[in-house]
């Protein structure tokens, strides 16, 4: 199917009353959780996933994706007005966004964040639409050894970019790998780490780990008393929100930079939207004619990262939909969602499910327009959410999490697991362990083990099957990336890329 007819079909799907409504719900919900600090897209999507079983999958996917990219729009509002990131991907927006707001330019900062998000977000969708179908054709030639090498490379990137401490990221991933190994082994029908419990024969459900670590853990961490931050007011009237013509001209390069860097980083496993926003901010600063203004309220410092984190969405969906490989916590949950609904993300996905793929793409065009409206004229309404007290919000999140897990298979054992992983997630936050490697270790580790053993079954136990061209390049890169941090210069560079204070 060519792109044009695909897109036509997609708009037919996305513009049906039901799917349009799902798109609106998704982006509004996304904006809300984007604005609210302490509740992110992985937590929200994980929490809502069990409740989408009864929905028609295309609509449900449109909604969950809406939450995913909608949150990236909303996150900047909090960064600019409160100097607290609404989302981790909006951390860097705090730097210049908040300075602009302090200097009385909150309006143009908010406006520019929305406009840049729209431009780059739309670029991301266009690129996704152009790149994914041909890549899916190529990836049909990928066999188990190629997949294994991709997973190893992906996990290496995750560990490398998850946080300042490599050891902590590595440990977190190992716990994920361990959980992935639980249950009945597909290849030998042997039980592993079941502790004699029937409930563990099927392994631990990824969704429970995700809801526990992300949603419950986040709630527990947020319940600790924090110093209230002072919120700057949103200027009244649409005119006061619009950046000046001069601002737009200054941001020309930032739009391109954000779009391209965001999309490319998105495709890369492990490096999520937070890193995309930091990279594009760094590039923007490096090429600027007046780098001294960065940190003092340079509008490019808002445009570039906000663009990058939105273009990242399109990029991240490429490996998810064509290879079935997620690169971040949120896409890992989207993968679980697709599998639960009975789809098979992978090389055949676009061909087998054209309505879902093109419907999703079309809904993202619509969603980006909706988000521009939500985040320009209506930004003041959403900013009011920041006044919502914790005692109203946190019980709600816990309630939805518990109901969601229980309705899936009405089992108290699973609720116990949820509680355990919630506490574990909280402890990880307190001890400064990154949670993404755990979740990705769980998802990718399972796939990685299977790919390795399939490879060896195909070659009758000969490991040289992993030395085919693509796997050997990827495995070589992974080794280099792991050895790299042993050298001071490389490690300093790595820390600089991910360092949130930079």
């Amino acid at each position: 199917m060519d792109i044009f007819s695909g897109l036509m079909q997609g708009f037919q799907v996305a513009l049906s009353a039901n799917n349009l409504l799902m798109c609106v719900i998704g982006v509004v919900l996304g904006t809300v959780i984007g604005v609210l600090p302490g509740l992110g897209p992985p937590a929200t999507i994980a929490m809502l996933l069990p409740l989408t079983f009864k929905l028609e999958p295309t609509g449900a996917m449109i909604m969950l994706a809406g939450i995913y990219y909608g949150a990236k729009y909303g996150g900047s509002t909090t960064s600019i007005l409160l100097n607290v990131p609404g989302e981790s991907s909006s951390v860097v927006t705090c730097i210049d966004g908040y300075q602009m707001a302090r200097k009385g330019r909150a309006g143009p900062a908010l406006g520019m964040a929305a406009i840049s998000s729209f431009i780059a977000g739309t670029f991301g969708v266009v690129a996704l639409m152009l790149v994914a179908p041909p890549l899916a054709k190529i990836s049909l030639a990928f066999s188990a050894p190629e997949y294994f090498a991709l997973m190893v490379f992906g996990l290496t990137m995750v560990v490398l970019l998850a946080g300042e401490s490599l050891i902590k990221a590595f440990l977190s991933m190992l716990v994920g790998l361990w959980i992935a190994g639980m249950g009945t082994d597909l290849f030998t029908a042997t039980s592993r780490f079941t502790f004699g419990r029937v409930e563990l024969l099927g392994g631990i459900d990824f969704i429970i780990v995700a809801i526990g670590v992300f949603a419950v853990g986040e709630v527990l961490a947020n319940m600790e008393p924090a110093e209230p931050a002072e919120m700057l007011p949103v200027p009244k009237g649409l005119r006061n929100l619009m950046p000046t013509w001069d601002d737009m001209k200054r941001c020309r390069f930032a739009f391109v930079n954000g779009s391209v860097v965001g999309f490319l980083i998105g495709i890369l496993p492990g490096a999520g939207s937070t890193i995309a926003s930091f990279m594009s901010y760094g590039i923007e600063k490096a090429v600027s004619k007046h780098p001294e203004e960065f940190g003092q309220g340079a509008i490019e410092g808002v445009a570039a990262p906000e663009g990058a984190n939105n273009a990242e969405t399109g990029g991240a969906l490429v490996p998810l939909l064509t290879l079935g490989i997620p690169g971040s916590g949120t896409t890992a949950i989207l993968l679980a969602a697709l599998i639960l609904w009975g789809f098979k993300p992978g090389p055949l996905f676009i061909q087998d499910q054209p309505a879902l793929f093109w419907g999703l793409v079309a809904s993202m065009y619509i969603g980006n327009v909706l988000l521009l409206i939500l985040n320009l004229p209506l930004v003041a309404v959403f900013a009011q959410l920041l006044k919502m007290p914790g005692y109203a919000m946190y019980p709600l999140i816990l309630g939805v999490s518990i109901v969601g897990v229980y309705t899936a298979d009405s089992s108290m054992f699973q609720l116990g697991l949820l509680a355990a992983f919630g506490l574990f997630g909280y402890a990880m936050r307190k001890l400064d362990f990154p949670t993404a490697p755990l979740v990705l270790g769980l998802v990718l580790g399972d796939l990685m083990e299977k790919a390795l053993r399939q490879s060896l079954m195909m070659s009758q136990g000969d490991p040289s099957i992993l030395l085919r061209p693509i796997p050997s390049v990827l495995l070589g890169l992974a080794v280099l990336l792991l050895v790299g941090p042993l050298f001071k210069k490389f490690n300093a560079f790595r820390v600089k890329v991910i360092d949130t204070e930079a």
Partner: protein, 326 residues
């Protein structure tokens, strides 16, 4: 007065006791019936369970509603445990597949086996077909097996777990012919097909419906079918026997069971209701639409069939070197 009351009470209870057998004979469900399945929402038996609930309602076979309860995990072990916890309960039934027979054979954690539950009726047998890529050099199953004999281990089959039917078919064919080819496990059906379409494996056992889509798209060719007689959708494809391979392949079944010690009249009621359901046009249409084989068996025959299947599986596993625990 009080004496009279006691006598009265005794008389009543005697009457009640005497009335019991009569009441039992026409036991009827009085509240919502739970149908326990071992898959999550959208899984095979979940879908079948919901379809049965709809048909029972449409054909007015039950005075109450049926509600599907999902107890996924452990290849049926979690659901088996859930059913056995409902001992005596006439308002609970369960839907099983052959996985429930295979699971406990290899997993010691599965404490409850089908022998602990009460068989009600077998409903269907699931056929399968053996497929290769449309451009494969193998035009018949015989050509494939001869090639596998000529170069042992060089050909590959994609499939599910080692305990699955896919592998049993392979083991039986290997055993009967002396050919050898590799079995590569993939957790999802989509990956198995992708591996075949991508040319990474040579052959697979696949559901007739799924194969049909790929055949129509010109991507797969079907060499043989695991069905008896031939499926309506594959009139020109030989069955295994017709292809010259008269091997036992344990059939993939779906059946109804009940909790242990469900009262005999309730068990009889359910057996009778499913017999009725099996005769309805809705049911026939459902089987046709989903390319399932009608394989209705009454409780006594289902029990025999379970014992027989278990014996066959155990032998197959032992031949293949898969560790069995009971």
């Amino acid at each position: 007065m009080s004496k009279f009351r006691t006598i009265h009470a005794i008389a009543l209870s005697v009457a009640a006791l005497l009335a019991v057998p009569a009441a039992h004979a026409d036991w009827k469900p009085t509240k919502t019936v739970e149908v326990i399945v071992h898959t999550g929402p959208g899984g095979g038996n979940d879908v079948l369970g919901r379809a049965i609930a709809n048909m029972m309602e449409k054909e007015k076979l039950l005075p109450v509603r049926m509600q599907v309860v999902n107890k996924p995990g452990g290849n049926g072990a979690v659901a088996a445990a859930a059913i056995s916890e409902k001992k005596y309960d006439p308002h609970t039934i369960g839907l099983i597949t052959s996985v429930w027979i295979a699971g406990p054979l290899t997993t010691s954690e599965a404490k409850i086996t089908l022998h602990d539950l009460k068989p009600i009726a077998q409903l269907v047998r699931e056929p399968a077909v053996i497929a290769v890529r449309a451009d494969s050099r193998f035009k018949t199953l015989k050509e494939f097996i001869e090639a596998a004999k000529a170069k042992p281990g060089s050909l590959k089959q994609s499939g599910g777990s080692v305990t699955s039917r896919d592998n049993i078919v392979r083991l039986s064919l290997q055993h009967a012919t002396g050919a050898k080819w590799a079995f590569v496990s993939f957790p999802g059906g989509g990956e198995r097909v992708a591996a075949l379409l991508g040319g990474h494996v040579d052959i697979m056992v696949i559901e007739p419906q799924e194969a049909g889509e790929q055949v129509r798209a010109g991507k797969l060719r079907v060499l043989a079918q695991l069905a008896e007689p031939r499926l309506a959708a594959y009139p020109d494809v030989p069955t295994l026997k017709e292809a010259g391979y008269d091997v036992t392949t344990t059939p993939q079944i779906r059946a109804v069971v009940a909790p242990p010690q469900m009262p005999a009249d309730a068990a009889a009621y359910w057996e009778e209701r499913f017999t009725k359901l099996h005769e309805t046009p809705s049911w026939k249409k459902y089987l046709h639409d989903n390319q399932l084989e009608d394989a209705f068996l009454h409780a006594a025959d289902l029990r025999k069939s379970i014992v027989e299947t278990e014996k066959q599986l155990r032998e197959q596993y032992q031949l293949a070197g898969i560790k069995t625990v009971r």
